[in-house]
């Protein structure tokens, strides 16, 4: 049987950059790999399209009424229910079933994974973020730097630099919408007061191009992020997969669900199910990089061990969503340079834990109005009026708290193949929320603690820590090079190997860590 130097399972951020780090070796990437349908693309600004195109039903609602998903099924994010983006979560429930009372997230089997619909926030982990990891920022620095050159990161070195790290290769930041341009100007005038309160605001760092790079065009402010897949300016790992394929750096096989592995002398066998024929297939590699996503990677490991008893830990960022309003913007027109990407970030120090909480500020003009209309407090027609005039004046602050380990947050495989996933309830931190609400009010942005909403656990989609890296790993833990304890050839390269989960979006660090492990393996294979 043919033996590859390395087999990579999964094409999300971990898989793409493990393969990237392994360039020069014979690499097979196995993936279910659903992709967007080859349907006509939306082109133009969302407001112009809605005024000038008689009917946007196929693109915004979908011939199968995909956008009505949350009216008849467990709610998912507004992006993921959009018809052109629904491939991101296609078939996950049937192919990788989860049973849970508390888990409100999703899994992706798409080429590029959940990052096809991500917010594109990219943040370097500092040594504070990496406390508890057996690696430091120095181990990741060169990978972060190469990533910035490869994917393109826009942003600024500003008040958030102590939290996000300095980056000399940033592209200019995105233009801010009028609402957030005003908010940033007001923050800058009140900076000292914010600093005394341990709160800081700055530009979002995004994997979004503001200048052409590596054959991709700059962002065009069409505000189609809720509806359009594969916007060239917004990076997704599928771009790297396509590049590696076109360079001949990897062999890519889609339609394969990795179910388990078995170590043999000098190699590892990977057992996949062909999702078209349902037949089992076996592939051999000298190394295996598991990057099927934190939950599915843990499933593969447990399935391979035939272990239906062990509970593994699992982390996600608890969230709080705080709507904000500016009275000055009520009645304003919609801006043609708006976007649904993160506009600003904020960081608030938690004085008790010493651990910062990160927030991201979004505009409210991207989604369909029907998604939120019935959450407003007035009658139908009055809610329409309210939305029409308040949308340009409103935004959303999404606060992300560090993931918390708890015996009640765990995953376990059942003999029937379902993954049992449960999360402990997390109530957020009212003191921190109250502090940022007071500061925002101070600069003219209205909100109230009663308006704070708490999405269910799993909705952050930042799963991590099921097979954590440790200095001295025990069973179901990993070494600093991602090698799963008790194995010789199996490496964990996605969020599963994170030792902890700070409040920052982890995707950029998944990429950097996977690239680091890929490079290490490539050197070892030499």
């Amino acid at each position: 049987m043919d033996c590859f130097d390395a087999i990579v399972a999964g094409s999300g951020p971990g898989g793409a950059f493990a393969a990237y780090g392994l360039r020069g070796k014979r690499v097979l990437l196995l993936d279910v790999g659903y992709d967007a349908a080859a349907s006509p693309r939306l082109s133009g600004n969302v407001y112009d399209l809605r005024r000038t195109r008689d009917d946007l039903f196929p693109e915004l609602i979908g011939e199968n009424f995909e956008s009505l998903h949350n009216l008849h099924d467990r709610p998912i994010s507004l992006k993921l229910k959009s018809p052109l983006l629904s491939f991101v979560v296609r078939d996950w429930r049937s192919l990788t079933p989860i049973v849970s009372q508390t888990f409100e997230g999703v899994i992706s089997l798409a080429k590029g994974g959940l990052a096809n619909a991500w917010g594109a926030g990219v943040y370097r982990f500092t040594n504070r973020d990496l406390s508890g990891f057996p690696i430091s920022n120095d181990d990741l620095q060169s990978c972060y730097d190469e990533l910035v050159r490869h994917i393109g990161v826009s942003g600024a070195n500003d008040d958030l630099e102590p939290y996000f790290g300095r980056d000399e290769a940033l592209l200019p930041p995105l233009e801010l919408s009028p609402l957030f341009s005003d908010l940033l100007a007001r923050y800058e005038r009140a900076r000292d007061e914010f600093a005394r309160a341990g709160a800081f605001v700055g530009r979002a760092r995004l994997a979004v191009l503001t200048q052409p790079l590596n054959g991709r065009a700059a962002y065009e402010y069409e505000n189609l992020e809720f509806f359009q897949p594969h916007i060239p300016a917004i990076y997704t790992p599928s771009y790297t997969i396509d590049q590696l394929r076109s360079e001949g750096a990897i062999a890519y096989l889609s339609g394969r669900l990795v179910e388990r592995f078995q170590e043999r002398a000098g190699c590892v066998e990977v057992h996949t199910r062909n999702i078209e024929t349902n037949e089992m297939e076996v592939w051999r590699g000298r190394k295996l990089c598991l990057a099927a996503g934190t939950l599915n990677t843990a499933r593969i490991v447990l399935q391979s061990a035939g272990d239906y008893a062990t509970r593994l830990p699992v982390l996600d960022n608890p969230m709080a969503c705080i709507p904000i309003f500016s009275l000055r913007r009520i009645g304003a027109g919609l801006s043609l340079n708006d976007s649904s990407l993160a506009q600003l970030n904020c960081v608030i120090e938690d004085r008790d834990s010493g651990e910062p909480v990160q927030g991201t500020l979004y505009g409210s003009t991207g989604p369909l109005r029907s998604d939120v209309l019935f959450t407003l407090p007035l009658s139908f027609r009055s809610n329409l009026t309210l939305l029409r005039h308040v949308a340009p004046a409103g935004g959303l602050l999404m606060l992300f708290y560090p993931g918390v380990e708890s015996p009640r947050s765990y995953l376990r495989l059942s003999p029937s193949g379902e993954l049992e996933v449960e999360f402990a309830e997390c109530s957020g931190n009212p003191e921190i929320e109250g502090r940022i609400i007071r500061l925002l009010r101070r600069i003219g942005y209205l909100t109230h603690p009663a308006l704070v909403q708490r999405p269910g656990m799993g909705q952050a989609l930042h799963y991590a820590g099921s097979l954590p890296m440790r200095d001295k790993p025990g069973p179901y833990q990993t070494h600093a090079d991602g090698r799963l304890a008790g194995t010789a050839h199996v490496h964990i390269v996605d969020g599963a190997c994170f030792s902890r989960l700070p409040s920052k979006n982890l995707t950029f660090t998944i990429m950097a860590n996977a690239m680091r492990i890929g490079r290490l393996l490539a050197r070892g294979l030499s």
Binding site: R50, I330, L334, S370, S379, S382, T385, R388
Partner: protein, 132 residues
């Protein structure tokens, strides 16, 4: 040839007339029925049939019922709302085509008054007609 079940067509007509003051375009009715067939077992609503027979104010009743928790009527109006939002002829309901702070202030004040009136009327209709 239309394949719309009579009850769903009547439902779409009644809801749309009550909310937008005019009959919907045929394509909206077709899609309303198709959404029910695909996602909601194709059923028309007894509640809406009763409301339509008595000519009740849709907006008022929905508002009163929504305050007790979202139910079938709210869901059906939301389906209709999704279907019209993607049509250019309805954009004036969803985005400010001629933005003005003065107009916004005037319309928001009127909306608050209208909501209070609709709530009072809805509560009365819900009790008077036993719609709970």
């Amino acid at each position: 040839m239309s394949t719309v079940a009579p009850s769903l067509a009547a439902e779409a007509l009644y809801l749309h007339q009550g909310l937008f003051g005019r009959a919907p375009e045929p394509v909206v009715i077709e899609r309303y029925a198709a959404a029910h067939r695909k996602l909601f077992a194709g059923a028309g609503s007894d509640l809406i049939a009763r409301m339509a027979a008595r000519g009740l104010d849709v907006e008022a009743v929905e508002f009163a019922l929504r305050r007790r928790g979202r139910g079938e009527l709210t869901r059906k109006i939301q389906i209709l709302c999704y279907l019209v939002e993607v049509r250019s002829s309805y954009q004036r309901y969803f985005v400010p085509l001629n933005p003005s702070r003065v107009r916004a202030a005037r319309e928001l004040a009127a909306a608050a008054v209208r909501s209070a009136w609709k709530l009072a009327k809805g509560e009365y209709l819900v009790r008077r007609h036993g719609l709970l």
